[in-house]
């Protein structure tokens, strides 16, 4: 294997960098509502995963297939992964895929990866930027029966093996794994590169392949909300109790000194 076949799983999510004040819960539907000017994006951890695949492609060449699951996937959003250097885009797109959990999502993605057939490396973000579960990558690996290494900050490929720097609490460790394997990627790997004009124009011309559940031999009952193992009972926002006491002063420096006096007075320090 000189030119690895890589698959990167990317999820369209509400922009996690949007200010906290714009996130509202609609309690009737148990869903997050966001103002229309907050656009969806590819999950930030999925972007790091994409960058990991691109760095391997830079070095050894190879093919990157982007895989995304959802309904009404916005082409301009997901095509960013093609514009930065992805080769092919496969969308698992159908109303039946909606509102899945980690189980039904990983199940559909693993089934799609089996249908793709050829892969040396599968990349996922360490967790999604919406539900923050951190299960789908490991779930895909378990369902496919391939080894998985989590929290990668660097991935290199040679001689049918991947050499991965995995983040651990007091530093990192270098882990070797035989391919095919699945790797989940964390933020220390580095940001996804910007797309260049040539890439954006090439991406605009590419048409995604769209698979429905039946195209993968799946029943509607196995995917999305019907295939869940977990039930969302309630989505809510905690009431903030903290009331901030702003310490003032004639100048910023004086305010700083007053803060020390106030904390002493309040017996905080």
């Amino acid at each position: 294997m000189t030119q690895p076949s890589m698959i990167v799983c990317c999820k369209q999510v509400p922009d996690p960098e949007a200010p906290p004040s714009v996130f509202k819960v609609d309690t009737a539907s148990n869903k997050i509502t966001l103002p229309p000017d907050i656009k969806p994006v590819i999950g930030q951890y999925d972007e790091f995963a994409m960058e990991a695949a691109l760095r391997i492609k830079d070095k050894t060449g190879g093919k990157i297939t982007i895989l995304s699951l959802g309904n009404n996937i916005i082409r301009d959003v997901i095509k960013k992964a093609l514009a930065v250097g992805g080769d092919e885009l496969i969308l698992l797109e159908d109303a039946a895929f909606q509102e899945g959990d980690s189980w039904s999502t990983a199940f559909a993605l693993a089934t799609a990866i089996k249908k793709i057939g050829q892969y040396d490396l599968i990349f996922c973000g360490r967790q999604s930027s919406d539900w923050d579960a951190g299960q789908v990558g490991l779930g895909i690996a378990e369902l496919l029966g391939v080894p998985a290494v989590t929290l990668a900050r660097k991935v290199e490929v040679s001689d049918g093996k991947a050499r991965i720097e995995q983040v651990i609490p007091d530093g990192y460790q270098i882990v070797e794994v035989a391919l095919p394997a699945l790797v989940t990627v964390t933020s220390e790997l580095g940001n996804l590169r910007y797309a260049v004009l040539k890439g954006i124009m090439a991406a605009a011309k590419k048409q995604p392949t769209v698979w429905k559940p039946a195209d993968m031999g799946l029943e509607q009952s196995q995917v999305g909300s019907a295939g869940r193992n977990t039930k969302l009972v309630r989505l809510f926002q905690p009431v903030r109790e903290a009331k901030c006491e702003i310490i003032e002063g004639e100048s910023a420096a004086e305010a700083g000194a007053n803060l020390a006096l106030r904390l002493r007075e309040a017996k905080v320090l």
Partner: protein, 333 residues
């Protein structure tokens, strides 16, 4: 049909003792088990389990499954997955709890998919639904901007729990319980990964998790230097440690080991001082357990003020030295 009963805490051992997160799991596990009137068991695995089985009982377990094997010294996924899968298939617990720790976040999803069951990760609250007797699992979602409560429609019900979100029982060495030794029977042929080398990047001084006070800097700090000067000076006065939100770690201004937040360290010091941190939910997720939060930020609209008890609006370059100086004076006097 399999009868699922009892609660299993999959414990962790640090240098021959039960980890603090495990004692927290046992604390909540005990009250859940009492409510269900079922047994609380704890699995401990290591090359040498030391005092951990005794401690598990003193912290609330009725029964301990103890496995010793040289290969269990370090966490390796497939070894632990084999052990956990066998234990769960043999004992059929209704509920399995792990910490949302480096081991738990790696092992729990693997085990859940191996068992074809469901899992809620990073829970901050667990309770029993009075009607269905199912486990209600509360976890932050959307980077901490909302919370979700889940139940599972399959057995066993699995959860990982955020460190410091729950309290241990008071240690009671007079409690009695059973310790059962389990042979490891590890099939080494399933081990697919090999650790070639470990590289420590630990920073000198007080560990973040143990520090009574933390001074954290954010994107607004602007570069690496203040972390070792102005912020460090304040931390030293408080006998505390310096931390950071994600941008300084991603920009390489500080090592990743200082990153506090959803995907970094979770801390709960007495005093948490944020400097030029806007207060993204992802950061708050790592420090919301702090006793007193104090914010210094030049933007009066910054979200961090909604999370803090005390605040100063101003440029940190001016506020911080005066604050540190005054504090030094007060603490000396």
């Amino acid at each position: 049909m399999t009868e699922y009963t009892g609660i299993l805490v999959y414990g962790e051992i640090i240098e021959g003792h039960l980890s603090s997160t495990t004692t927290e799991l046992l604390g909540r596990g005990r009250s859940l088990a009492d409510e269900l009137q079922e047994e609380l068991t704890c699995a401990v695995t290591s090359d040498s389990v030391g005092q951990a089985p005794k401690e598990a009982i003193a912290f609330g377990a009725d029964k301990v499954y103890s496995t010793e094997d040289p290969s269990l010294k370090e966490y390796e996924p497939s070894t632990h997955l084999q052990l956990a899968e066998k234990l769960v298939r043999d004992t059929c617990p209704r509920i399995i709890l792990m910490g949302q720790t480096p081991m738990g976040r790696d092992l729990a999803p693997r085990l859940a998919f191996r068992l074809r069951t469901g899992l809620a990760t990073d829970c901050i609250d667990l309770s029993i639904d009075p009607e269905s007797k199912l486990l209600l699992q509360t976890k932050p979602v959307y980077g901490g901007n909302a919370r979700a409560i889940f139940t599972l429609s399959v057995m066993p019900q699995m959860a990982t729990v955020r460190p410091k979100a729950m309290s241990p029982m008071k240690r009671d060495d007079s409690r009695t319980g059973e310790v059962i030794a389990i042979e490891s029977e590890i099939d080494a042929s399933t081990i697919a990964t090999r650790i070639v080398e470990k590289v420590k990047e630990e920073v000198a001084g007080i560990k973040l998790e143990d520090a009574p006070a933390i001074v954290s800097g954010g994107r607004g700090i602007g570069g690496p230097e203040p972390f070792t000067t102005t912020l460090k000076q304040l931390a030293d006065v408080l006998h505390g440690a310096v931390g950071a939100s994600r941008p300084p770690a991603d920009n390489g201004w500080v090592p990743e080991t200082l990153h506090i937040g959803l995907t970094g360290k979770i801390v709960a010091p007495d005093i948490y001082i944020t400097v030029a941190i806007s207060g993204a939910s992802q950061h708050i997720a790592g420090c919301s357990g702090s006793k007193t939060m104090i914010a210094i930020n030049k933007d009066p609209e910054a979200n961090i003020f909604r999370e803090s008890q005390f605040g100063v609006v101003g440029r940190y370059e001016e506020v911080l030295p005066a604050f540190t100086e005054k504090l030094k004076e007060l603490l000396a006097g």
